[in-house]
């Protein structure tokens, strides 16, 4: 054996610092928007402006928190830990810089486009196609930088944190690309390539796995690095890491359809979604156990080190959320909780608890490290811990309670089979006190984060950033030349083979998606549907785009589940065939207002006009935002024809005549609505948004079904 030569390596701390401050700033922005929309529910008057209504701000909140706050934290943690785990500087400084600024630019573009109403309406994938492309490019830059660094590592084996980073990179790439297949209509408008139930399956395969591979696997990786570091304890079990890593990567991709129980997606996908969710309990808990048991023998630290306390609460929340998720995929529970605030509570155990608290812990640990100093104030850190914990508890308890209350009210029937609470609004007004409590909880949590920002800022001021941290490591590291070669197990061997590891991760994660989505795709092509739905007229289509633009889908479902309490309330269950031309599907995931799938013809045009102008005039006490601007806003019909053409390309059967004479059809239908309003003394203009929206609402559930 040769004597090892040592070489100097300098770790890039500047890039870590950038991502760290971005995390802090975007975190505060995202939470602030969260508090605002939390208040808009009990106080609908806070929807002051077209651009700032609930339906437009809610996606801004989710995107900011997921992709800006958590996203930047992932990059911060990965860039810090990968360099040290690989004993190598990041692969390429230019890529690092491009990655950082590219990602911030994407966030800024989201913050501009979403309030403007530029949205695909697919949850957590709302950004329009040019931004989707930018995301893909920046993500690949990140991947290249990550893989490049691991490739030139000076450590034979890859630590478990790196496995999780790889899984994150691979799975998110696949999810983003598949879910974003869309046909552009103009610079900032596109239609999802998939339609109806198929679009729903793809979207929730994406949505569920965005939670898995953006909010979970990277954070498990971060936990595996920062927890043993902060606690100074060895990781509890290496073999547990192996088993729970591979089972998570393989099982997660199958579980998406548990978001679609009782809907019109094929029955067998629903069953698989539920079964795979249950099987995920143990693998998820494997992560929790490995985290918590690593702290054995360090419990005294848990008492007085707030950083460790943050980590313990975070990991416990992870355990809670990953037990609750599978339970919610059981039909009997799903029936009650789906579409209610219960799900909002569930995701916030994850977001405020698991992601938020682990992020705080890492920031408090890392900022003093890279600035070569001590944390400014331990007292503030302690205070922040209690604010975060209290805020989170207040938030989730009030939403659990609200969700259960409303879910049970929806299902409640008397002995004659009549709904006990037939008036939907009654079930909404019950929730108002909880909405206030939730907003207070959120506000406390936000203030805690502001306190942290101040504390970290003062810390940074008291130190000096060590831009390039220089260390000595073994120089002639050689992958082949290791003595323990023979004894090592298969997995140990695999940890030395980066390429193979990546390939296996792709195989494991792709299986679920392929086997569930592809057959459904085929069904769509071959099944001879009995009923053919007539596509939307040009006016209705524009109305639908106004519905999308204003994010009505954030409060209204268009999916009547096959549950008798639901069909009694809203009408026949939504069918597969009805939604054949729904590009994108608009089933929604939260029912703050009633389901609208069969709203057509339930009220007359005047009712809708008055209701949109001022909901309380028709529904006293309504918490729906008012949309008076729709009465004056003109519909931009310059792309109407292109829209029809684009939809025809992806399978909506518009005839040549319909496309050529779109304008005549548009004006004729609009005039009919205007005339009907005139009878009630309302003077509306044919080219306004309200007219198109009314046409769309009146069409819902009224498809002229033609037998083939």
């Amino acid at each position: 054996m040769d004597t090892t030569q040592q070489v100097k390596v300098s770790y890039d701390n500047a890039i870590v610092k950038n991502f760290a401050w971005a995390t802090v700033i975007w975190g505060i922005v995202g939470m602030l928007v969260g508090v605002i929309i939390a208040l808009q529910l009990p106080l609908p008057g806070l929807n002051f402006h077209e651009y700032l209504t609930f339906g437009r701000l809610r996606p801004l909140h989710t995107n900011a928190v997921i992709f800006a706050f958590v996203g930047n934290c992932i990059f911060m943690g990965v860039y810090y830990s990968v360099q040290r785990l690989c004993k190598a500087r990041m692969f390429n400084d230019v890529l690092s810089t491009l990655h950082f600024w590219g990602w911030q630019l994407i966030i800024v573009s989201a913050a501009i486009t979403l309030p403007l109403g530029i949205t695909t309406s697919k949850e957590y994938a709302e950004l329009e196609w040019p931004i989707d492309i930018a995301i893909a490019v920046v993500w690949l830059i990140f991947g290249a930088n990550l893989i490049g660094t691991v490739w030139k590592r000076r450590e034979k084996h890859m630590y478990v944190a790196i496995w999780f980073y790889f899984a994150t990179f691979i799975a998110v790439t696949i999810l983003h690309v598949v879910n974003s297949v869309e046909i552009p209509v103009s610079f900032m408008k596109s239609y999802s390539y998939y339609a109806g139930a198929q679009d729903a399956l793809v979207q929730w395969w994406y949505g569920h796995n965005a939670v898995a591979f953006f909010l979970t696997t990277p954070y498990l990786g971060l936990m595996y690095y920062f927890l043993p570091k902060a606690a100074g304890r060895p990781v509890f079990s290496y073999r547990l890491s192996i088993i729970h890593f591979w089972s998570i990567v393989f099982l997660y991709m199958w579980a998406g359809p548990h978001h679609l129980l009782f809907t019109s997606v094929p029955e067998w996908t629903q069953t698989l979604g539920m079964v795979f969710s249950l099987m995920l309990i143990a693998p998820s808990w494997g992560g929790m156990l490995n985290g918590l048991l690593t702290l054995r023998g360090a419990w005294d630290r848990v008492r007085d080190d707030a950083i460790i306390k943050f980590m313990v609460v975070s990991i416990s929340c992870y355990g809670m959320a990953t037990l609750e998720g599978p339970l919610l995929s059981i039909r009997a529970l799903n029936k009650v909780a789906h579409f209610t605030d219960y799900i909002v509570a569930h995701v916030h155990v994850g977001a405020l608890g698991w992601n938020g608290m682990l992020t705080f812990a890492i920031l408090y640990w890392l900022i003093p490290k890279i600035y070569n100093t001590k944390l400014h104030s331990k007292k503030m850190l302690d205070l922040h811990f209690w604010m975060a914990t209290l805020g989170m508890l207040l938030y989730v308890c009030s939403m659990y309670f609200a969700g259960l209350t409303q879910g049970l009210m929806w299902l409640d029937m008397d002995s004659d089979g009549y709904l006990k609470y037939p008036n939907f609004l009654d079930t909404v007004l019950k929730l108002i006190p909880f909405y206030y409590l939730r907003a207070i909880g959120g506000l406390i949590y936000l203030l805690g984060a502001v306190l942290m920002a101040y504390n970290l800022f003062k810390t940074a001021c008291s130190g000096q950033l060590e831009v390039n941290e220089e260390v000595l490591v073994d120089a002639n590291f050689n992958l082949e030349n290791h003595e323990d070669e023979e004894e090592e197990g298969v997995h140990r061997w695999l940890e030395g083979k980066m390429g193979l590891f990546l390939v296996l991760t792709v195989v494991a994660s792709v299986a679920g998606g392929l086997l569930e989505l592809y057959p459904t795709y085929l069904i769509e092509g071959t099944k001879n549907h009995q009923v053919v739905v007539k596509p939307y007229t040009p006016l209705e289509l524009e109305g639908r785009d106004i519905y999308i633009k204003n994010g009505c889908v954030n409060c209204h479902s268009q999916m009547i589940r096959a549950i008798s309490a639901e069909t009694k309330r809203f009408g026949n269950a939504t069918t597969f065939a009805e939604d054949l031309y729904e590009h994108p599907f608009l089933w929604g995931s939260k029912r703050t207002g009633p389901d609208l799938d069969r709203i057509g013809g339930r009220y007359n045009n005047v009712w809708h006009y008055r209701h949109m102008e001022a909901p309380v005039s028709m529904s006293p006490g309504s918490i729906m935002p008012a949309y008076p601007f729709m009465i004056t806003n003109k519909v931009d019909t310059s792309t109407t024809q292109t829209k029809l053409k684009a939809l025809r390309v992806i399978g909506v059967p518009y005839t040549d005549d319909e496309i050529d004479q779109w304008k005549e059809s548009y004006e004729k239908q609009a005039l009919e609505i205007v005339e009907s309003l005139k009878a009630d003394g309302i003077d509306a203009k044919t080219d306004t948004e309200i007219i198109a929206l009314i046409a769309y609402l009146q069409k819902l559930g009224k498809h002229d079904a033609i037998k083939k």
């Binding site: 079990s237 290496y238 054995r296 009712w607």
Partner: protein, 185 residues
């Protein structure tokens, strides 16, 4: 667990050291393995039962059940058709008023004067002004014109109560009443 015990049980993996992080190789907790195996077996059973043996209550079957229930309800409603008469006792009228204020006021006005829906205080009726006819209108609605069908929300008794309340408004001549619609009765 005390620190001493810790050392004896936990097999430290000597060659695992990443940036100072060490790993133990503890056995997986038995209950954890048990949980994993049980969920897998249950999953296999559930999939076999539901998808291979077909013992599921699918949405289709479910919808058929719904149709059957609806037919049964229809037959029941066809059976004896007693002639309805308006209720006049104070309790029924109060209950009718409460139903009206909650469900009908937005469209027919606080005093029945008519807003989106027609004036209910005049003797003019689009769909007939007898108790039977009004009950029928309320039950099945006039969906094309924006009058909701209430039969799934209000029980027959409640519909009769609100009908009686409406009839008690006849001739009250509220301010701002909408112009008459329909035929005089």
């Amino acid at each position: 667990m005390s620190k001493k015990q810790d050392k004896n049980i936990d097999p430290l993996m000597m060659d695992h050291d990443y940036d100072g992080i060490q790993e133990l190789d503890n056995n997986l907790p038995t209950w954890w393995i048990g949980l994993f195996i049980i969920t897998i077996i249950y999953g296999a059973y559930f999939v076999t039962d539901h998808l291979i043996l077909g013992n599921q209550v699918s949405a289709e079957v479910y919808r058929e059940q719904e149709v059957l229930m609806a037919q049964k309800a229809k037959e029941e409603s066809k059976a004896p058709s007693v002639k309805l008469t308006a209720l006049t006792d104070a309790a029924s009228l109060a209950s009718g008023k409460a139903i009206y204020m909650k469900n009908c006021m937005a469209c027919h006005g606080l005093e029945g004067q008519g807003v989106v829906g027609p004036n209910l205080t005049d003797p003019f009726w689009i769909h007939g002004g007898s108790v039977d006819k009004i009950v029928h209108t309320i039950k099945v609605g006039v969906p094309a014109k924006g009058m909701i069908a209430w039969k799934s929300q209000l029980k027959p008794q409640k519909i009769l109560e609100v009908t009686s309340y409406i009839l008690s408004l006849q001739g009250s001549n509220p301010a701002g009443a909408k112009a008459p619609e329909g035929a005089k009765e």
